[in-house]
């Protein structure tokens, strides 16, 4: 909604028609003379060699899975092996024109792509660089396993390095390329441009787009390819990612130098999604290349390519790469191929006919390309046999080493704990000057904030008026502005992040401060908002994205639960995830806009979960999150955006400061009851403090949790040892609330000190009602007191409004409400 773009009814209502350009299908024409001239015989033969390597590597895995042995060596591999036998030409052809700066992301079926990309990189890198890469990778742990002095040269060694490193990874060995924590479906090797492969169908699409955004915004060389299957076109987040890459604003609103993110959506079209046949059964496009036509006027430069001819794929990838580097992306290729192996070893091929499989075997891309080279005199039959013999011996060697526990010990299970978080502190991910449109001190909001009261009460203890206050949203603004002016790689986006100033006015003023490429609006694509941020962060850059309502996390489920949370640990700490996901928790807007889902993110290993309730913490905790290297779910309640600072008497500091991670804050001291609150319930808690004192003479110790994970229990334990009584309250529905988790831990830690079981107060286990009825739905101060009376210590003369009896616990559980 930029004001510079006018939507004119005359234009909008004008008659006309949309025209499409024809979409090329398999237009590549083989011409050996031309090909030899372009590539040289040696490069053509190397392509064949690479295809043979992949074929033998996967044949070995297939035999291990199916027969339990390969070349007389027995081995049991209980994990997955999704093979791509038959797809070698598509993988090798793609990598021919790629450099190490060009990234490929892939799927669960990407062994071949890893091999193709790494073998291509090995042939392009000089020996010195190759040696350094191998020696520095995990301090030479992988290299030392294969280096035995037998190698002809560095490239020969590097080939064994990647064959062994990948196999050791598949077999969960500590010497694998991700120390055995990634495994078959997640392995990757960044130094050669092979980026994370993803076990979620289509999972790599939006991550690749984010990685391409990182290249675009930080002006890094290279393109990014998302290798995803034909069936992934059925996944919403794939389309979300495509929209994210195709947005008009890159050319309409951003500085002219940028263009679109250089990303190629490369559909490895093997005709099946597991057993579902995409053409004729589960999809309708007939040609996946058709999809490009629906995205933008250049139709994503989409075409179908014969993926059984490596030179056709190389040609198409080369042309797309040029288009992408020219800022004309995103591009799309529909690479026709066929998986001769099953989806997995358990696949009985009940969904396809023997005849069909025989047809493709006759067309086998590896054999066909070998015959092409022989018939054109590039190699002899004997050369081909010699190559196969050499490759088989390399694969045997890799397997021997990878299954030898003395060389390749299993990865230590305790390693995982150490890589769940990187716990880093990074001021900036690049040294260049952060790009700003104005000096921070000249920013209108910055000037306005100078006049605000950073503590809510005047010297006489009288509260300032709302419009005089420095509020929670100002704390968010200051933390964002600080990191934007410190780290040049820091970007922020989401729905309504720019001109609107964020749906809740936290970003007012940032539009004036920042160029488009650092703060922009995204499509309504929650999956891709988080997914692209994941790709941006793991490619080395800081990003803060936003979901306007916590309820919308449902739209970004995979990206939050499987992607941003897992990549640091699945990469054995190679990847960092400096990503803050700001999530606003609503109310008054009914059942799909009022949910606190802290429990869900608390449940997922690998996420940090912060939930500030005060203005001081809004700034201090966001500063902390934006300086770290871990994915932080940063929850903010819309109930608190307008509050001033009620606790820090010195007011919210004007300078930079960080809240200590994992530390709850004791807001009032008391000896009779510990009340732990999360988020805005802090303010109901303050009412409880007053009422318990006035009516019942009881002193309540009020603790603002602030952090759900990580969490230091010391202060809570100390408090409970003193009071013997604890209530934990949050706005989340009571069933499965994260507070139950904390209550259970407190029961363990303080059992002998408890005078009653910990009591958890939450919202009703229902949909949230209309705004007018919310006080009967969200926890109120009176509910907390009722619960104390019913479950902890009867209060003289107290009349309950709310039923907190044991019978009620059983009743609502029985009914599931």
């Amino acid at each position: 909604m930029p004001k510079t773009q006018v939507i004119c009814p005359k234009e909008s209502r004008k008659a006309g028609e949309i025209t499409f350009k024809p979409i090329p299908i398999n237009q590549y024409k083989s011409d050996y003379k031309k090909e030899e001239k372009k590539y040289g015989t040696a490069r053509l033969v190397k392509m064949y060699y690479d295809m043979l390597v992949i074929r033998e590597f996967e044949t070995m895995l297939n035999q291990i899975k199916v027969q339990g042995s390969y070349q007389g060596m027995e081995y049991n591999h209980p994990g997955p092996a999704h093979l791509s036998i038959g797809q070698e030409a598509a993988a090798v052809g793609q990598s021919v024109h790629l450099d190490t700066d060009d990234y490929i992301f892939g799927s669960h079926r990407s062994h071949g792509e890893i091999m193709a990309k790494c073998l291509s990189a090995i042939s392009k890198l000089d020996d010195g660089k190759l040696t350094t890469i191998m020696e520095e990778f995990f301090d030479g742990a992988t290299l030392n396993a294969v280096k035995d002095g037998s190698h002809e040269n560095v490239k020969d060694l590097a080939e064994d390095f990647i064959l062994y490193g990948t196999l050791a990874e598949i077999f969960a060995r500590d010497t694998g390329i991700n120390r055995g924590l990634g495994g078959s479906m997640h392995a990757f090797f960044i130094p050669f441009g092979s980026m994370p492969n993803n076990a979620l169908v289509g999972g790599s699409a939006d991550i690749s787009v984010g990685s391409a955004m990182n290249k675009l915004i930080n002006r890094k060389p290279g393109i990014v390819i998302a290798n995803i299957g034909d069936a992934s076109m059925g996944c919403g987040p794939v389309f979300e990612g495509i929209w994210m890459a195709a947005m008009d604003q890159y050319v309409e609103l951003w500085d002219k130098e940028f263009g679109h993110p250089p990303v190629l959506i490369n559909i490895m079209n093997n005709q099946y999604g597991m057993g579902g046949q995409t053409v004729g059964e589960t999809m309708s496009y007939k040609f996946a290349a058709r999809i490009g036509a629906g995205i933008n006027s250049n139709q994503m430069h989409a075409e179908r390519v014969d993926g059984y001819n490596p030179l056709a794929v190389a040609d198409a990838t080369e042309r797309q790469k040029k288009i992408l580097l020219d800022g004309q992306g995103p591009a799309l290729l529909d690479v026709i191929t066929y998986r001769m192996s099953g989806h997995s070893p358990s696949d009985a091929s009940s969904y396809r006919s023997k005849e069909e499989m025989e047809l493709w075997e006759e067309a086998d891309c590896v054999r066909a390309f070998g015959e092409y080279l022989i018939s054109n005199g590039a190699i002899t039959e004997a050369d081909a046999e010699a190559m196969k013999t050499k490759i088989t011996s390399k694969v045997i060697k890799a397997m021997k080493l990878a299954t030898d526990e003395s060389v390749s010990p299993y990865s230590d299970i305790n390693l995982i704990e150490t890589v769940m978080y990187s716990n880093g502190k990074v001021e900036k991910f690049d040294d260049r000057e952060p790009e700003l449109l104005e000096k921070l001190e000249d920013n209108a909001r910055v000037k306005k904030l100078k006049r605000k009261q950073r503590y809510a009460y005047d010297a006489d203890g009288k509260p300032y008026k709302a419009n005089q206050l420095y509020t929670f949203r100002d704390g968010i603004f200051e933390a964002m502005a600080h990191r934007f002016t410190t780290d040049p790689t820091m970007i922020a986006y989401g729905e309504e992040n720019r001109d609107w100033g964020g749906a809740f006015a936290c970003y007012n003023g940032l539009t004036e401060l920042l160029p488009y490429h650092r703060l922009f609006n995204s499509p309504i694509s929650e999956g891709a908002i988080v997914g692209t941020a994941c790709g941006y962060a793991l490619s080395g850059g800081r990003v803060c994205v936003e979901l306007m309502y916590c309820d919308f996390m449902g739209r970004a489920g995979d990206e939050i639960f499987n992607q941003i949370s897992k990549w640091q640990s699945m990469s054995a700490g190679i990847l960092k995830m400096p990503l803050v996901l700001r999530v606003s928790i609503g109310n008054k807007y009914g059942a799909q806009h009022s949910q606190d889902w802290t429990a869900m993110v608390n449940h997922i290993p690998g996420l940090k979960v912060y939930y500030p309730a005060t203005t001081n913490d809004a700034k201090g905790m966001l500063n902390l999150a934006l300086a770290g290297t871990d994915p932080v779910i940063f929850l903010e309640s819309q109930k608190t955006y307008g509050v001033g600072e009620l606790f820090e008497k010195g007011g919210v500091p004007e300078g930079y400061f960080e809240t200590e991670e994992g530390e709850p804050a004791v807001r009032t001291q008391g000896k009779d009851l510990t009340l732990v609150t999360l988020g805005p319930v802090l303010y109901s808690g303050m009412k409880v403090v007053d009422e318990m004192k006035e009516k019942y003479g009881m002193d309540v110790e009020l603790i603002d949790l602030r952090f759900v994970n990580p969490l230091n229990y010391d202060k809570i334990v100390e408090s409970v040892k003193k009071t013997g009584r604890i209530v934990l309250a949050s706005d989340a529905v009571e069933r499965g609330s994260a507070m139950h988790n904390i209550a259970a831990n407190i029961t363990n830690l303080c059992f002998d000190y408890l005078d009653a079981p910990p009591v958890v107060i939450g919202a009703k286990n229902w949909i949230s009602p209309a705004a007018e009825m919310e006080t009967d739905y969200f926890p109120q101060a009176s509910w907390i007191i009722d619960a104390v009376h019913e479950r902890i210590v009867p209060l003289p003369g107290h009349v309950v409004e709310h039923n907190y009896t044991n019978g009620e616990i059983q009743r609502i559980a029985r009914l599931g409400v």
């Binding site: 013997g724 009653a756 210590v793």
Partner: protein
Amino acid sequence: MATEILLPRQGQSVESCIIIEWKVNEGDVVTEGQTLCEVETDKATFEVEATASGTVLGIFYPADSDVEVLKVIAAIGEPGEDVSALRPADEEAPVAAVPVVVEEQVKTAPVVATAEAGKTTGISPRAKTLAVQKGVDTSTLAGTGPNGRVIERDVSTAQAVTPTAQAKAAAEGLAIPSAGTGMGGRVISADLVSVAPEAIGAAVALLDFPGNATEIPVKGVRKVVAGRMLASLQNTAQLTLNTSADARSVLGYRSKCKAAPEEAGVGGISINDVVLYATVKTLAEFPELNAHYLGSKIVNFGNIHLGFAVDTPRGLMVPVIRYANLMTLKQLSAETKRLAMACIEGMIEPDALSGGTFTVTNLGAAGIESFTPVLNAPEVGILGVCAIQPKPVMNGAEIEFIPHMGLSFTFDHCAADGAPAARFLVSLKTKLAAFELTLAG
């Protein structure tokens, strides 16, 4: 193949141990070194550790079993392994079925009770802890928590009465006053108020007869002590001589030790240490008392291995200071402390509880003026040390009150006669009365 867990031999003389408590259940996953159970010999308590990691497949003796050492008491292995071959033939209880059933009953009982009666009379963990500290019998309290639960405030406002006072009040029909003079206002026996004589009958009639009583099985240390004491009295001709020693020198020396600079390392030397030291020096002159009477023969020992009685939560223990005759006072003091502490903590090695040639038992701190120590047979002598009290002594025409330490010496007339026993006491008195000379010599 599952790993057998043997009941280890704890000291040479130990033939069997009582399993006090299992810390694991069948089916639990344990790691090597983890405590499996606590066992008790006649002298001390030990923990049996897992010698392998895995799942506890079998627990072959329930708690409270008396098990011969080196028997297989449990097996650890992979789930599903058959351990029936490892099960000892004499095993007491079938496959730990007993603890499992008990546990299930415990689990389901409160739920049923709640549902049926609609009122629990539970007690909060915090209240329970406080009750123990305060000595409050929570069974007498009416809980004011939710559903009648006894909570902290019920205990903190409850009247604390010592168990002795409670028993006395019940037995004698005495009234319990609202506040007592014991620690923290606890009502002690002295605080009990007599009920008017004519009201006693009525007061007693209201009480359950005979009131609270607890059955404690005689086992472990208690059982051993009981057996030995009875055997001692049945099998020896013991008698006790009483006297007292001028304690001024001992008290003076003790004050000097206390006042000495810390680096001297003598601040910890107690009166008991001094008495032990003087005893060792005296015994050296009376080898016939540093002896064992074995019926057909008497063994006189060339060295003095001095036993001393220690009061522990588990009962009386007598650790032995080996080669006490070779030690300086400082060494003797340190060794005494180490052994006493080990006994109190239940960590004493069984071998340190045997082999004594003479024993000293000290009830002085309790104000005992004289008593008849029971011989730790087959030892021939045991010295009882009593309280230090002023004693009038004629000094010319004047009467002077001089602090004296009571000494009660029991000896076995089978092995020694009264005269040498008396001479032993005279020599000991001299050594105590001029302790610094004793120390010098």
